[in-house]
C-alpha cells in the first residue's frame, strides 16, 4: 500500500507539472463556462420545467467526452514510448499498484475539474435574486445528485481512458479510442432506449435503465439514489482496470 501512495504522489505530480494538464483544464473550463452561460440565458428568457443545475448536468457528456481522453491518454502511452516502464517495474511494485495509481490520479483530476465548475453556481447563488436562486437550484438534491452521478460514471469513463492508453504507445490513437467508446456509451445508450420505446421491444426493457445514462442522471438529480447503477459502474470500472492490468503485463512480456 505504501508503494501505491508513492506512485499516486508521483502520478499526481506528473499531472500537475505537465502543461498538457493546464491545456485540458482550460478546454474544460471554457466548455462548461460556455454551456453554463448559454443555459443561464435560456433559463432567464424561457420558463423551464427542470432546475438550471439539472439542465447543466445533462450536458456533462460534452466536457466529459473532451476531457477524459485528453487526461488519460498520456498515462500509459507516454511510458511505453519513453521506455520508463522498465525502470518502474525494476523496483518492487505490482502491475495493479501502477494501474490503480494512474487511475486514481486521473480520476482525482477529473473530479477536481468538476468541483471547480461549482464556482459558477456559487457566483449565481451570491449575485442573483432569491426567486432565481430557488428556480435554479430547486433543492440540494439536484446539484448534489447530479455531481454524485458524474463522479460515479467518471469511474468507468476514466477506467476506459486508462484501458485505451494501455493498448498503444500512440497518444493520439489512445485519445481517439477513448473518445469513440465514450461517445458510443452516451449516444448508443440513448439510441437503444429510444428504439425500445418505438418498437416496444421488451428485450431491452431490463437493460434500458443501465444503458441510458441521461435517464439515470435525471433519477439522481431528482433524489433517487439507485444502488444498482452504482454497482453497475463500479463493477464495470473494476473489470476495465483488470483488463488494463492484463494488457500492461502482456505488453511488457
Amino acid at each position: 500500500m505504501k508503494k501505491f501512495y508513492t506512485l499516486l504522489k508521483y502520478e499526481i505530480y506528473k499531472l500537475m507539472v505537465s502543461p498538457a494538464t493546464y491545456v485540458v483544464a482550460s478546454i474544460f473550463t471554457l466548455s462548461i463556462g460556455g454551456i453554463f452561460t448559454f443555459l443561464l440565458h435560456d433559463y432567464i428568457k424561457f420558463a423551464q420545467d427542470v432546475p438550471l443545475v439539472q439542465m447543466f448536468c445533462r450536458c456533462f457528456w460534452l466536457p466529459t467526452c473532451m476531457v477524459v481522453p485528453l487526461l488519460s491518454m498520456r498515462s500509459f502511452s507516454e511510458e511505453y514510448k519513453c521506455g520508463t516502464f522498465q525502470n518502474l517495474f525494476s523496483s518492487p511494485v505490482t502491475y495493479t499498484e501502477v494501474v490503480l495509481a494512474k487511475f486514481f490520479a486521473t480520476y482525482g483530476m477529473f473530479i477536481f475539474l468538476w468541483l471547480c465548475s461549482l464556482s459558477m453556481f456559487l457566483a449565481v447563488e451570491s449575485r442573483s435574486e432569491s426567486i432565481v436562486r430557488e428556480l435554479a437550484f430547486a433543492s440540494p438534491f439536484n446539484a448534489g445528485g447530479g455531481l454524485l452521478f458524474i463522479a460515479i460514471t467518471g469511474l468507468l469513463f476514466i477506467a476506459i481512458g486508462i484501458f485505451a492508453s494501455s493498448l498503444t504507445e500512440n497518444q493520439i490513437v489512445s485519445c481517439m479510442v477513448t473518445f469513440f467508446i465514450l461517445l458510443t456509451l452516451f449516444i448508443g445508450g440513448q439510441f437503444l432506449a429510444d428504439r425500445s420505446q418505438i418498437t416496444n421491444l421488451s428485450l431491452y426493457g431490463t437493460y434500458q435503465e443501465s444503458l441510458n445514462i441521461f435517464s439515470q442522471l435525471d433519477n439522481f438529480c431528482n433524489g433517487v439514489f439507485d444502488t444498482r447503477i452504482v454497482v453497475f459502474y463500479l463493477s464495470t470500472c473494476i473489470l476495465t482496470l483488470c483488463f488494463s492490468t492484463v494488457v500492461v503485463q502482456k505488453k511488457l512480456n
Binding site: 519513453c82 521506455g83 522498465q86 518492487p92 505490482t94
Partner: protein, 322 residues
C-alpha cells in the same frame, strides 16, 4: 548449485511470439563478482537482464536469486536486484534529486534514510554539486547515464544489473563508472552488458558470451583464451633478417608472418607440435643473428575471444542448417 552462488540460471528459454530469443541458457554468478555479458546485437542479452531483474518472465526454465525462484516470487527477488535498462529511460519532468528520492521510496528504503541514500549515490556519481537540482530533461547524455547508474546503486541491493552503462560517456566519465564498479566489487554482484569490450576486460572477473540466444562461452579471460586457442598455436616476436627467420621456422606451419607496427621485429603466428616447438626454441635461441623478444602460447584479447566464439557458433549453425 554452490553456496556462494547468488544467481543461478537454469535452462532459461524466452520466446517472443514463437521466436526464440533465449534457448536453454544456464549459468551462475558468485557473490561479489563482476560479470560481463557480451554478445552481438539481438543475441538475447537484454532479455536475460530483464528476466533477472523481474521485469519480464521466461517462457521456461528458472532463475534463482538467493535460493528463491524469481518466477515464483518476483516481488521478493526485486528487493535484491537493481537494474539500469539500456538507453536509460528517465522521466523528464523531475529534478535529479527528486527522481532519486522517488526511486528510493519505491525500493522500500526507510523514509528517514531516503535523503541520505540519495545524497550518497549522487556524491558517488558526481551529481551532487552539479546536477542535484537540475531537471532531467536538461541533462546531457553523460549526466543521464550517471543518474541511471546512481539509481541502480541506490539502497543495498545485492545484485546490480547494468545494461550498456558506459554508452555515450566520454573517457573521463568511463573511468568514473569504472571507479564506482570497483568500489562495489566484492560487496555487490554486478552484471554488466556492453559492446565496449576493452572496458569490460578491465572491470570484469568473468565473462558470458552469448550468441543467437545460446551461451557460447563462459569463464575468465584466461579460460576463454584457452578454449579459443589450440594447444599447438604459438606466437613469436623476433628481430633479425627475414630470410634467416624463415629458414629457422622450416618444419613448423606458419599461420601468419608480418612485420610489427614499429618495423623493428617480425610477428610470427605458427602451429607446431610440442617436440617441434622445443626444437625450434633451441634453434632460434642459439642463433646469434636473431633476437627473440617474446615467444609462447598465443594470447587473445577479449575482442578476439568474442569474435572467435561467435564466429564458431555461426559456422556451426550454418553447418547444421545445410
Amino acid at each position: 548449485m554452490a553456496k556462494s552462488d547468488v544467481i543461478v540460471v537454469s535452462e532459461l528459454t524466452k520466446k517472443y511470439c514463437g521466436q526464440v530469443a533465449l534457448n536453454a541458457v544456464s549459468f551462475s554468478m558468485k557473490k561479489g563478482s563482476v560479470i560481463g555479458l557480451i554478445g552481438p546485437n539481438g543475441a538475447g542479452k537484454s532479455s536475460i537482464l530483464k528476466i533477472l531483474a523481474g521485469i519480464i518472465t521466461g517462457t521456461s526454465g528458472d532463475v534463482i536469486i538467493n535460493g528463491c525462484s524469481v518466477a515464483e516470487n518476483v516481488m521478493w527477488a526485486k528487493q535484491y536486484v537493481s537494474f539500469m535498462p539500456e538507453n536509460n529511460p528517465l522521466p523528464d519532468h523531475l529534478r535529479v534529486g527528486e527522481y532519486l528520492r522517488f526511486r528510493a521510496e519505491l525500493k522500500g528504503i526507510p523514509m528517514r534514510k531516503i535523503r541520505q541514500s540519495a545524497e550518497k549515490v549522487m556524491r558517488q556519481c558526481d551529481l551532487y554539486y552539479e546536477a542535484r537540482y537540475r531537471m532531467i530533461k536538461t541533462l546531457s547524455k553523460g549526466y543521464r547515464q550517471r543518474v541511471g547508474i546512481a539509481d541502480a546503486m541506490l539502497g543495498n541491493s545485492e545484485i546490480v544489473i547494468l545494461d550498456e552503462p558506459t554508452i555515450g560517456l566520454d573517457p573521463h566519465q568511463i573511468i568514473g563508472v569504472r571507479k564506482i564498479i570497483d568500489a562495489n566489487k566484492g560487496t555487490r554482484t554486478i552484471l554488466l552488458s556492453s559492446h565496449i569490450l576493452s572496458e569490460l576486460e578491465t572491470v570484469c572477473d568473468n565473462f558470458i558470451i552469448i550468441n543467437r540466444g545460446r551461451i557460447v562461452a563462459t569463464g575468465s579471460l584466461d579460460e576463454l583464451s584457452n578454449n579459443v586457442k589450440g594447444e599447438n598455436i604459438f606466437c613469436a616476436r623476433i628481430g633479425g633478417d627475414e630470410q634467416t627467420i624463415r629458414e629457422n621456422f622450416q618444419g613448423v606451419q606458419i599461420i601468419e608472418f608480418k612485420r610489427s607496427s614499429c618495423n623493428e621485429e617480425y610477428v610470427i603466428k605458427f602451429e607446431a607440435a610440442k617436440e617441434a616447438y622445443r626444437f625450434l626454441l633451441s634453434k632460434i635461441s642459439n642463433n646469434r643473428e636473431l633476437f627473440v623478444k617474446k615467444i609462447g602460447h598465443m594470447e587473445y584479447s577479449l575482442e578476439e575471444v568474442f569474435l572467435n566464439s561467435t564466429r564458431r557458433c555461426r559456422d556451426q549453425d550454418n553447418a547444421d542448417d545445410s
